[in-house]
Amino acid sequence: MTVMYQLTDVSKQFRQGSRVIEAVSHLNLRVEDGEWLAVRGRTGHGKSTLLNLLGGLDRPTSGQVQLDGRDLARLGDTALTRVRAATIGFVFQTFNLIPTLSAAENVEAALVPLGSGSVSVGASSASVGSASVGGDSVSLGRGGAARRRRVAAALESVGLADRMRHLPTQLSGGQQQRVAIARALVKDPKVLLADEPTGNLDTDTRDEIIALLEKLWRERGLTLILVSHDSSVTRRAQRVAVMDRGHVHFE
């Protein structure tokens, strides 16, 4: 197995007035490529901060966050944006769909940053219309027709082929989260980061979504890191990390 994430002595501090809060403290973590890691813990103990660091949405105060051998903390904003565009898919608790766009357009929004230009995680650019992560190239599709085919395939993979033109307000919570999952996966990312993906759903829908994520993880060989405070969700993962006052330990 190759290593997807390697976190070394990572700390993240926030300043609230004169107080300094250490959300993540001297954290060391290794996540294998294709692994499903669940992170649980109580509210305010650093789960989401860890996820933001893994997703390149935030930078650590100290330490290294290596993704596929590259330290995200040392990447410039543009390079970090490219990494997010090509390598990482996000699923949020509140779905975060754009309310004015249809399901298909929301999914298509994830392909916009890839456009027709070259996208690569490394310093050198990969071929046009593809993204490369650690040498593996994935087809992104160019032009409107190719894009639409990819979007349709992504929505079909989450069981929403018949809801493509629906606006988020016309979909149930579970359907909205499926759209969000399709949006995260349409660009064939290596990593899927899910922050409380079932937090706003009822029990039945929660189980459906977790089952879907598990299926996609298996089919696509994703590295899945899922944050949840729900033990019935986290116990489905291969490994469970518990965040406690910024420190991590494994069950």
Partner: protein, 473 residues
């Protein structure tokens, strides 16, 4: 394509707010167009007045300064140019004294004198002198005279008078007649230079029942009317135009009835370019020290009346009102756009998480703002045209009062008086919206929209995706 879809959907979602911002910009822009149109209307009216007074193509006029009054002149004396006429009883019965020379009159006798009224004569060589100055494209002399006629009868009637313009036929593009439109008959040709022919102002012709082919007495000489002309509204036309050479021959000047041969009393000058006007004005003043040189701008400063006050209102109050409303509209657009962006922080954070570059999001927001700006421009142009139409509908005719020195200086016990004559000209104001103004208005509205978008963009550029998405646990 995605850019447009997203833009249209977003504007549709915020349609009320977008329309509100666009309306704000439209009011500002509409006011700018209206005020600019009104200013242009006033400027055109002013130009019309000056053009009428000056003639087309005339940049400067030169007139001789009136002579200083003698220190021992009597209080009733008229020591300047012009003709002094008095009727009275002499040793031989009724007599008329013209410039001090009296003669007995028979019943029905008409005394007809043609003399300069406002401006004293100067030598025609001055015209050549002016023409030779650097920066002068053309110069023409003119002789502005007043014809006074008195008829002796048992029941004496007041003297009648009309104005006569001796026109240089070799320079048809200069002087007051250059501005006239022929309504009947024909204009002068160079062959008319020494003929007793006249062109009559159509207004004067109507009130005196004059027609082409009829005759009119000028300075006691019979002139045949060859044409009727109409001067533009706002002008102050002479009643009768005759060839300059004939005006010089028929007219007289001074108490001794001195002939005006080789004299002119106005020189019309065209500068080689607009930038030369002030230099030419200075050069003429130096070359002809005893003359007054008037430019269009100095003449404009002598125009008073509602035309001037409206111009001042449009230029000062209107300009500042437009600026204030524009600032308010821009501020409104900025505040509402910022508020809209604040509500979309999570959306932009999500886009950043998906790998959208800040620049791409800014383009999206700027695009939305630009469309709102263009909508504001379209509405503003409509408002501007409506404003101009309302002004044209309700604006009263403007009046221009031009006060001109008569050229006379009268010594009185309290000092020397310089009598003036005023003419009031009624001018319609037509507010016109030009293509340039529309372009400026569109750019202004677009700038307002983009300004609002740029403030929002500044906010977006400072957005940390983790904070924008909202959850830091």
């Amino acid at each position: 394509m995605f850019f447009l879809t997203y833009l249209i959907r977003e504007l549709r979602r915020r349609s009320r707010q977008a329309i509100f911002i666009a309306l704000g910009l439209a009011v500002g822009v509409g006011l700018v167009i209206t005020v600019t149109a009104a200013s242009a209307g006033v400027r055109n009216a002013q130009a019309g007045v000056l053009k009428g007074l000056y003639g087309v193509g005339t940049d400067l006029t030169v007139t001789a300064k009136p002579p200083a009054p003698p220190s021992n002149s009597s209080s009733s004396g008229n020591s300047g140019t012009g003709t002094r006429i008095s009727l009275g009883m002499g040793p031989g019965g009724a007599q008329i004294c013209t410039n001090g020379q009296c003669k007995s009159l028979k019943n029905g006798y008409t005394l007809d004198t043609l003399a300069p009224e406002n401006h004293p004569p100067m030598s025609a060589t001055s015209v050549a002198k002016v023409r030779g100055l650097h920066g002068v494209a053309a110069a023409a002399g003119g002789l502005l005279l007043t014809d006074n006629q008195v008829t002796i009868s048992q029941n004496p009637s007041p003297p009648t008078s009309f104005t006569v313009d001796g026109t240089d036929l070799s320079q048809p593009k200069l002087g007051p007649l250059s501005n006239a439109a022929l309504s009947k008959g024909r204009m002068f040709t160079s062959a008319d230079a020494s003929k007793d022919v006249a062109v009559v102002d159509s207004g004067y012709a109507t009130s005196n029942k004059l027609k082409v082919g009829k005759t009119v007495k000028v300075g006691g000489v019979t002139f045949t009317i060859i044409g009727l002309v109409t001067q533009p509204q706002g002008s102050n036309p002479a009643d009768i135009y005759i060839p300059l050479a004939r005006a010089q021959a028929v007219g007289t000047n001074g108490p001794d009835g001195k002939a005006l041969k080789n004299d002119v009393n106005t020189i019309y000058v065209t500068a080689a370019s607009a930038s030369d006007i002030s230099a030419v004005q200075a050069a003429i003043a130096k070359a002809l020290p005893s003359s007054d040189v008037t430019s269009a701008s100095s003449l404009a400063s002598e125009v008073t009346g509602s035309l001037t006050s409206t111009a001042k209102l449009a230029n000062d109050l209107g300009k500042w009102l437009s600026v204030l409303v524009l600032i308010a509209a821009f501020a409104l657009a900025v505040l509402l756009t910022m508020a809209a962006v604040s509500r979309r922080v999570s959306e932009f954070g999500t886009l950043k998480a998906m790998g959208w570059r800040g620049r791409r999001i800014i383009v999206q927001v700027m695009g939305e703002s630009a469309v709102v700006g263009l909508l504001g421009a379209a509405l503003g142009v409509g408002f501007g045209f409506a404003g101009a139409a309302i002004i044209n509908k309700i604006a009263p005719k403007l009046t221009a009062i031009l006060t001109v020195a008569t050229g006379q200086r009268i010594a009185t016990p309290s000092g020397v008086m310089n009598p003036t004559s005023s003419s009031t000209i009624s001018v319609p104001m037509v507010a016109t919206v030009s293509a340039t103004v529309i372009l400026i208005a569109v750019l202004l509205a677009l700038a307002g929209g983009l300004l609002a978008g740029s403030f929002a963009s500044w906010r977006i550029s400072r957005l940390r995706p983790a904070a924008a998405i909202g959850k830091v646990g």
